[in-house]
């Protein structure tokens, strides 16, 4: 098809010259719009365009003002105005007429009026108020087209304050018989939710109704609301998980009408939406996630067709699988799926594969390993977008061992990139990695130099701030600190000796500060004290240095003027800036002058030792009292606190007194302090101290804190990076990588296999292989696979030793080369060992059982392990009794209890004749002496849940009580609510009548058993069981006539094809209906020819009718009920029953 489009479009140039072609057919070639379009197509320059549009706008202005202009003409004018706006010329004169057109035009013109309004106006435009009445009128129109367009307009933009005026009418539309109106009403409510969420709070129940709407379009529309709601508070919508799962299952299963398909894929965008919702719901929630595993797996399986759109679904599916609570088997399948993307020759799929991989390696870096070679290829890809995506992926798998290679790749990219945004982003990442994983001082300083030069002044200000903080704070080792600082100083001196014009301002500022603080560390500082000063002075004189930078430089010079040579230099500089127009600069010059002349004062305020010590600041500025009173007496205005000033001078932005993040707010702090003074020509002494405090330490200026604000400051780099925690690494000869870590759980440290695993794929060339080994070294050792919960990756525990290997040469090559010999093995081995460990974790997890020997799960109030769920809902026996033993040995690994035979004999006599389920054990509990089992008894008018409390110990249990909580079930006690005592080795029975309030496929019933083994010491154990809709269904005995009447009165229906069952000599219809009857307790009302009618009811609830017709080799079932959820849930059970039969 697209070929056809292409052909048609390629024929355009020739078509353009023809007036009589199809597109232009309806417009006369001489119409004003026709002329405009022709004019636009013939444009050759911006200048022509401006001329044409100006002329057009003038014509429009004239026409709209004319009283003779008809609505029909107005419609054309609007299109012309849309053209003008599209080209960037405001056609404001037409705005009011657009509103008028919507108000007064016929249906067609009205639509155009609405369209023009939506294109011309902004949400906040006051003009929109003029539209409210029109909307109100149209919503009540009898013409559905008008209702429709009013709703469309409302869902695009509507003044927030006017929502109450139309809300009731929009709500009303939710029950409109036409799907399109209902759908648009939901979308309008969605809009209201977006702009004023509290206005629609009261109609959340109606959203639920929309979700259950029989029309898939209405349901789809409601998902927009739910995506938002669920995103904002997943907790409140967990109960809808089943619904979303059911919907997705139906969509995936192709249950939607054909016209929802896109290239034979059923409603792909709907699937994506649902997958996103499920991801939010299942995140960090095992119970909820378990409900969706099946459908996620089905989505993965179904999306096998080779079309872009299936890949789009797969991508979303993989993301969801990696977002919800992990399930090993599913993760594995999803990971395999990513392989299809990454290995695809199609570039778009490759891109998406990299993106998916980036997402999943955050959970498990091992996943990158199978794709090493592809990643290397993508790193050198000609497409910069692919490269960029690859770097993003590498960023996520960086560790202390591959950091140098990855950072080098990133810097390489940065040198070529011209995109501002990605530069800023990537520079931030490089800085982050350098701080986290730097192998040595030299590398760190060099890398940060690159960061500053490449990032320039666009980068995030916290990068230089953090860097300076690192230098200033230092680490535990004094020698280490000195070395790092010296490295920085040396490299900056070298830089300043070269060309400085290309260095960004922020880098110059960093350089100035560092030189000011640490130049004294240079060995030649004593012999040539003027060297650094001269370099800085040269910088000061350069034109490209901004005023801000000059302030930093002057501060640095102030710190440096210790020798006679430098004092002379300082005086020279000071004199030059003494009269600067920049106040701060002028102040700095004053400081410089005075401090350079008064060595004693300088020594006091700028002593080298005291730089990092706490600076005592009299934050009340009491020493100024005299000065202030003098000033006041002289008629100065009294001091006003900042907030008061701000209020008074709302227009003038007052200076912020907040320290800028945790940075070194040199100019700010100085400014703010001087600002506090009534007199700008402040005493020199004070401003010096303030400038010093701002320069060399961090000083919290608020709240009167007088100590350095260091607590709570996270040290990202340093201690970890420099402390050698391991005794000497023995790298050279050992085949094992020194970084082998014990598995995080500590218990699965499998012996590292000595055999190397070959890297996948054919032998790639040497160079790439090497790159791969340096890139992927260490991946999978540090970050542990964590299936038990999504915890952060284990912190870096091992570092390359900085000095031994790296510092002498200090280059990235050295360190990466040194790891080559062992890294191949490292990657292989670590892959092996971690997957082995993973396997074990998985198996342990899959069993899902708490070790019996201790670690009682009961202490945690969370949901119980899922093992038993399958067992509980497993089957409804139709016979009357059963052995009472548990069928599935897997179901309960807890040691045998004396529950087998005796328990069922405790069943109350009045229930013994009724149909019932098998016994199910409820909880093992921490107390081996207590066992709970349950059994469902199907009474005609109730579902009775019988709970057997067995006391298997010798002592007596006191005050045994059961409590149930469930949103969807109503549980009332029949007997045995509180059993005063249960003697040793005896059983107590409690009966509960359970009613399902709202039909749903199945629900979880959580309970708590409390008892006292020692009187006065209550204990409690939670348990849970799953009840399914089918337990609550009872046959509904009606005649065919009654059935007919009911059928017509029920409004909620669902249609679906089910499989037919063939059995012996029965007709397939009879066999299928009999199966349903037996398994689901339905009543078969009648069978006539190829049709059958069936009825059932929910206990104490509403009926549901089924109309079945044999159609080819399937059974077309049509379900109807007065409640919306019932048919859906029942259908699910019908499917299941037939599948199991």
């Amino acid at each position: 098809m697209s070929d056809v489009v292409e052909k048609t479009l390629s024929a355009l140039p020739s078509l353009l010259s023809l007036d009589s072609n199809a597109g232009a057919g309806k417009l006369s070639s001489t119409s004003k719009l026709g002329n405009l379009i022709r004019g636009i197509t013939e444009l050759t320059s911006k200048h022509d365009e401006e001329k044409l549009i100006k002329k057009e706008l003038a014509a429009i202005k004239e026409q709209v003002a004319s009283p003779n202009t008809t609505m029909r003409q107005m419609k054309e004018i609007m299109v012309r105005a849309i053209y003008c706006e599209m080209l960037g010329y405001q056609a404001s004169v037409s705005y009011i007429h657009a509103i008028k057109l919507a108000q007064q035009g016929s249906v067609l013109e009205k639509r155009l009026g609405y369209l023009a309004v939506s294109l011309f106006l902004n949400e906040s435009d006051e003009f929109l108020l003029l539209l409210v009445n029109t909307v109100l009128k149209d919503l009540q129109s009898t013409n559905l087209n008008e209702v429709c367009m009013a709703l469309t307009a409302v869902s695009q933009m509507f003044p927030k304050d006017m929502i109450p005026a139309i809300l009731p009418i929009v709500e009303e539309k939710l029950t409109h018989p036409k799907e399109v109106i209902r759908r648009k009403a939901v979308l309008a409510l969605y809009k209201f939710y977006l702009i004023a969420p509290n206005q629609v709070q009261h109609i959340h129940s109606k959203f639920r109704k929309a979700l259950c709407d029989k029309d898939p379009g209405v349901m789809t529309a409601s998902l927009h609301i739910y995506l938002q709601l669920v995103k904002e508070s997943p907790e409140s919508y967990k109960d809808l998980t089943v619904s979303f799962v059911t919907i997705l299952r139906q969509v995936v299963g192709g249950k939607l009408p054909m016209d929802f398909n896109y290239h034979s894929v059923p409603a792909p965008w709907l699937q994506i939406q649902l997958l996103r919702i499920l991801a939010y719901l299942g995140k960090e929630d095992q119970g909820t996630s378990e409900m969706m595993y099946d459908v996620l797996e089905e989505s993965l399986r179904r999306a096998e067709m080779n079309h872009n759109i299936t890949y789009a679904i797969l991508y979303e599916c993989v993301k969801s699988i990696y977002t919800v609570y992990p399930k090993a088997e599913l993760l594995e399948k999803a990971a395999k799926c990513i392989g299809n993307f990454v290995l695809s020759p199609k570039i778009n799929l490759k891109y998406l594969g990299l993106k998916a991989l980036t997402y999943v390696v955050a959970q498990d870096p091992n996943l990158a390993l199978p794709h090493q070679m592809t990643i290397i290829e993508c790193l050198d890809h000609s497409d910069i977008i692919i490269k960029r995506a690859t770097l993003e992926l590498l960023f996520r798998i960086t560790n202390a061992q591959n950091v140098t290679v990855i950072v080098e790749k990133m810097l390489e990219f940065l040198r070529q990139s011209s995109n501002d945004y990605s530069t800023v982003d990537l520079v931030g990442k490089v800085a982050e990695l350098a701080e986290k994983y730097s192998p040595d001082n030299g590398w760190f300083v060099q890398t940060m130099n690159s960061v500053f030069s490449l990032g320039g002044d666009r980068m995030q200000p916290d990068i230089p701030n953090n860097f300076l903080r690192l230098l200033a704070e230092g680490f535990d080792s004094v020698e280490e600190d000195r070395q790092l600082r010296l490295f920085a100083v040396d490299s900056y001196v070298l830089l300043l000796q070269g060309e400085t014009a290309s260095l960004p301002q922020c880098f110059l500022q960093v350089i100035s500060w560092v030189l000011g603080e640490y130049a004294h560390l240079r060995p030649d500082q004593a012999s040539d004290p003027g060297k650094v000063m001269r370099l800085l002075t040269r910088l000061l004189d350069q034109r490209h240095a901004s005023a801000q930078t000059r302030r930093w430089i002057l501060s640095a010079l102030t710190k440096l003027c210790s020798s006679p040579v430098s004092i002379a230099l300082a005086r020279d500089v000071g004199e030059r800036y003494f009269g600067s127009l920049d106040t701060v600069l002028r102040q700095r010059a004053h400081e410089l002058m005075i401090l350079s002349q008064d060595a004693g004062l300088r020594g006091r305020v700028l002593s080298a030792e005291g730089r990092l010590e706490h600076v005592e600041v009299d934050s009340s500025l009491s020493f100024l009292d005299g000065h202030v009173s003098e000033a006041l007496a002289a008629g100065a205005a009294p001091y006003k606190p900042p907030h008061q000033r701000q209020e008074e001078l709302a227009h003038e932005k007052a200076l912020s007194l907040e320290p800028y993040g945790l940075s070194l707010p040199v100019s700010l702090s100085t400014c703010s302090i001087t600002d506090r003074l009534t007199d700008r020509q402040s005493p020199t002494r004070l401003s010096i101290s303030s400038s010093v405090s701002g320069n060399s330490t961090e000083l919290s200026l608020k709240g009167g804190s007088t100590t350095l604000k260091l607590d709570g400051v996270k040290r990202v780099w340093g201690k970890e990076g420099y402390l050698v925690q391991q005794p000497k690494e023995v790298v050279e000869e050992t085949p094992l990588p020194p970084t082998e870590l014990p598995s995080p759980l500590g218990s699965f440290q499998s012996p590292v296999s000595q055999t190397q695993t070959a890297s996948p794929g054919p032998e790639p060339d040497q160079e790439r292989q090497q790159l791969a080994s340096s890139l992927f070294v260490g991946v999978g050792t540090h970050h542990s696979v964590c299936l038990m919960g999504r915890t952060e990756a284990a912190p870096q525990r091992f570092r390359r030793k900085p000095k031994g290997t790296g510092s002498s040469s200090g280059t990235s090559e050295h360190s990466s080369n040194s790891s080559h010999s062992s890294s191949g093995t490292a990657a292989g081995n670590t892959l092996d060992s971690t997957t082995a460990a993973t396997g074990q974790q998985i198996s342990q997890h899959a069993l899902g059982h708490p070790p019996v020997n201790g670690n009682p799960i009961v202490e945690t109030p969370g949901p119980l392990p899922p093992v038993r769920d399958g067992g509980v809902a497993a089957e409804i026996p139709t016979g009357h009794t059963d052995s009472g033993t548990l069928a599935d040995p897997n179901e309960d690994p807890v040691p045998v209890r004396p529950r087998d035979l005796p328990l069922i004999s405790h069943l109350p006599a009045e229930l013994s004749g009724l149909a019932r389920s098998k016994l199910t054990t409820l909880c093992p509990g921490p107390d081996p002496g207590l066992a709970l089992s349950s059994c469902r008894v199907y009474k005609e008018d109730a579902l009775v849940l019988v709970v057997f409390v067995s006391n298997n110990s010798d002592s007596t249990l006191h005050r045994v009580a059961l409590r149930f909580t469930s949103k969807q079930l109503e549980v009332s006690c029949v007997s045995g609510d509180l059993v005063e005592e249960v003697k040793g080795h005896s059983v107590a029975t409690c009966q509960y009548a359970v009613v399902m309030m709202r039909a749903s496929v199945d629900v979880e019933l959580a309970g708590l058993v409390s008892y006292q083994r020692v009187p006065g010491q209550p204990r409690a154990t939670p348990f849970s069981l799953r009840l399914s809709l089918k337990h609550f269904i009872r046959p509904l005995t009606v005649s065919t006539g009654e059935y007919g009447k009911m059928w017509l009165s029920f409004s909620h229906d669902v249609k679906q094809n089910l499989r037919l069952i063939t059995a012996g000599d029965q007709s397939p219809l009879t066999a299928t209906l009999d199966t349903l009857r037996d398994r689901l307790h339905l009543h078969v009302v009648d069978i006539i020819g190829s049709e059958g009618i069936v009825a059932c009811r929910l206990l104490r609830g509403q009926p549901c009718l089924l109309h079945c017709r044999v159609h080819a080799d399937s059974l077309a079932v049509w379900l109807r009920s007065p409640i919306p959820e019932f048919p859906d849930s029942l259908l699910y059970h019908c499917q299941k029953a037939l599948a199991e039969a």
């Binding site: 048609t8 597109g23 444009l43 695009q156 759109i309 890949y311 977008i385 945004y421």
Partner: protein, 159 residues
């Protein structure tokens, strides 16, 4: 700070920021914004976006990073359809959405051409309004997308 920003992005619901139809000469044939952009700034943005897409080769991928969001583009003869999307949106699903849009136009106009779009700008907008609202995909069923427009056409004929 960077980290915080990234987190915020992940929380953001995926959305479409704008849809453009531009020809090879860089002339805008249709533009629809779902996020406020001043009308004066649109031409520059569009020129920038077109430059970003036109410079790409056939064998390169159809997604481009642009400022803090992404562009998905698809070429039909001389016409480009470019969609600006947030970082969290699924690129491939948007790529196919564009094709769905073209298929809808095809269904309505017969074989759609650039000229069809120019002479029926209003109708193309009406179609688009049915498909995307507030930056979210609200309908993809071709029959349902066209239904309101066809109803209007019918009324026009009756007149």
């Amino acid at each position: 700070m960077c980290v915080r920003q990234r987190n915020r992005l992940h929380l953001e619901v995926a959305m479409i920021k704008f849809l453009l139809m531009v020809n090879k000469q860089g002339q805008t044939r249709l533009s629809k914004y779902y996020e406020k952009v001043d009308i004066g700034k649109r031409p520059a943005l569009e020129a920038d976006v077109v430059k970003g897409c036109l410079s790409r080769k056939k064998e390169q991928c159809s997604f481009v990073e642009y400022k803090d969001f992404k562009l998905v583009y698809r070429q039909y003869a001389a016409l480009f359809i470019v969609v600006g999307i947030s970082d969290t949106e699924n690129e491939l699903s948007i790529y196919e959405l564009v094709h769905n849009f073209v298929e809808v136009l095809d269904k309505y106009f017969g074989h759609v051409s650039e000229l069809d779009i120019m002479f029926n700008l209003d109708k193309v907008h009406i179609i688009l309004d049915e498909m995307i609202q507030n930056g979210h995909i609200v309908e993809t069923n071709r029959n349902r997308i066209l239904a309101p427009l066809l109803a209007l056409d019918k009324m026009a004929e009756a007149h």
